[in-house]
Symmetry: C2
Subunit: 370 residues, 2 copies
């Protein structure tokens, strides 16, 4: 996609249209997914000031440290690129740009993840501007994926499926959480992922009860439940999946909990259709778990949107009345957790196509005892 | 270090002392290196509002989403932890906290990397506060490493040294940049690194002339120069090193450039002593390269501090008059780049101990033809 200049241009035009409708005068994007989405240049945020500025009434421009000059020029369709040298003060360049554009006031939309360090530069130069978050411009566009984007999400999910299979086969007594995490990271890279889309979770025994645990030195014991949660990054797009497996044997109680989670996941998946509110999908999973008496043990949202970021809109959560539409992609991942005991979570990425949900993860959800 | 509560408490006390001297009323820290440094809790920044607040005149507190509750409680010495549930609006909790603490005005220091999304919550609740960057509080402390921290940096560097050796041995005609990057990532994890400290750079042939290139599909050709730049993460601390090697043979011209870079690196290293200004060390490397006629081709700073972040203060750069002190750790990494042709960079991490520089990387800097 890196050379699809017309795609990035088209998105930028759509974005300026939204700014025009909402009377937003400037959009400020640091390196990250929004910058990539509109300009084609892909980097992380670092300490050197690098931004793409999209004024409502003028052509967009970049302010770039000299050492990134060649990379920015070779990857973006934007031609106005202002360079600063290591010994320059980028504040001076920014001041000139804002004053040339008459943007010392007005409404300025800041990228959700713009660092405070850079936000403060704007606040200092334009203290009277009205600052808002970029989501008003970007999130509607980003939420609805094109067929090309869905294709990349599917590829990312299929890499994760293959890695999951291999990871599960190694979940034997005596193996360590960190060994499985290492296998996941290396295998993801080996079969074509750019990286894992986040630091993997391999939580065994009591650690499986911590939804955001990562991994540690714990050795698997007979009877453990193991929550494995990770994703692959493919051409900038993320996957995210979770399976819970059991080592050597599984008690009746754990089996029951597993089946409840699986059922809740399936019911929420079946509820996905055009026009349904995000919170209703959450409600379906929650009701299913609540009815079985585990309501208290399911204390996180049912899912999150996914795309260039592993967590983005739409969030499948209580209170979110956003209606789902074709082209959206999100996780469905109910879980049940008993502190200091064990936990179970099952997660697939689902897209909404032709008014129905489609799972991008094809790895089975049946209970596995390794 | 995770359970060294007294260490984290002591740092927090020192930090509040600085706030008191500078009349800063509140320090706002999202998940990241500053939060870890003061609280012991280590996470990345995500979309859910999670902050540690350090008021000048009151005990510090956390605002935490419910799903992180157990992890925060088990890793920090801070006892005042306010929990919000998935369906709550964290803005309401923040408003109550700021109003209880009488912090709707005053001077508020924001963590350098706090996302705009969260900054805007404060700006909305306390539009009249005076916002500054956290560096005025944190950076002086963070810059001077304790012996324990130096030890962790040394471990991180020795992992990188070992991985570099293996990576270089694979730099043969026909190997791809991405293969070497994969080897670096897996080997770093395999021998005890938590991860690489950043996405590795393996730039071959013309790519070696781009200082911030990552890696791609390019196959190594005979005569290529290959710039390999990566680091390992060990117990939260980073390493960062670069070597440039040549495939099968090396022209006289490349050899000459290599020797100039090596000499500049050595001279800058020898210039390191207590009381010297950061810019003087930069100047030494720059003069050495300038004298040989390559001044234009060395267009980045000579180095950056390193610790919990791979880039932090002190920056070894023109214009930085900060004097170096014992306990500081930074890279020295001059380079010479000919666009569309080739580049050379050599980088070690250096600490200042007993008023002299000490290299943490022990891998040789001699010219290598693989």
């Amino acid at each position: 996609m890196k050379n699809s200049n017309s795609l990035f241009k088209e998105r930028s035009r759509a974005c300026v249209d939204i700014m025009d409708r909402k009377k937003i005068d400037l959009l400020v994007l640091p390196p990250g997914s929004n910058m990539y989405y509109l300009t084609g240049f892909h980097e992380e945020q670092w300490e050197r000031f690098l931004v793409a500025l999209f004024p409502r009434n003028r052509a967009p421009l970049f302010i770039v440290p000299e050492i990134y000059e060649d990379q920015v020029k070779s990857s973006t369709w934007i031609s106005d690129i202002r360079i600063w040298h290591e010994s320059d003060d980028p504040l001076v360049i920014l001041e000139k740009v804002l004053s040339d554009l008459c943007l010392m006031g007005g409404t300025i939309a800041m990228d959700t993840r713009l660092w405070a360090k850079f936000f403060l530069m704007f606040l200092r130069l334009a203290p009277k501007a009205h600052y808002i978050e970029s989501y008003e411009i970007m999130d509607e566009m980003r939420m609805k994926k094109s067929p090309l984007e869905i294709n990349l999400l599917e590829k990312a999910s299929s890499i994760a499926d293959r890695v999951m299979k291999k990871a599960i086969s190694e979940c034997k007594v005596g193996a360590k959480e960190k060994d499985i995490a290492l296998l996941i990271e290396c295998e993801t890279r080996r079969i074509g992922g750019e990286a894992t889309s986040f630091k993997p979770i391999v939580g065994s025994g009591p650690h499986s009860a911590l939804p955001h645990y990562r991994f540690g030195n714990r050795k698997f014991e007979s009877g453990d439940s193991i929550v494995i949660d990770f994703g692959a990054l493919y051409k900038g797009y993320c996957s995210d999946m979770t399976r819970t497996v059991f080592v050597e044997h599984c008690t009746k109680r754990k089996m029951k909990v597993y089946e409840v989670v699986k059922k809740a996941q399936q019911e929420a998946f079946e509820a996905v259709r055009c026009g349904i509110e995000a919170r209703q999908v959450d409600r379906v999973a929650r009701n299913c778990i609540h009815k079985k008496g585990y309501g208290e043990q399911f204390f996180h949202r049912t899912g999150h949107g996914i795309g260039l970021e592993v967590h983005e809109k739409p969030y499948i959560v209580e209170g979110n009345s956003r209606r789902l539409e074709n082209g959206m992609a999100f996780s469905i991942e109910p879980g049940i957790y008993f502190a200091n005991d064990f936990g179970v979570r099952i997660e697939d990425v689902v897209t909404l196509e032709e008014c129905k949900g489609r799972r991008l993860n094809l790895y089975p959800r049946e209970l596995i005892v390794v």
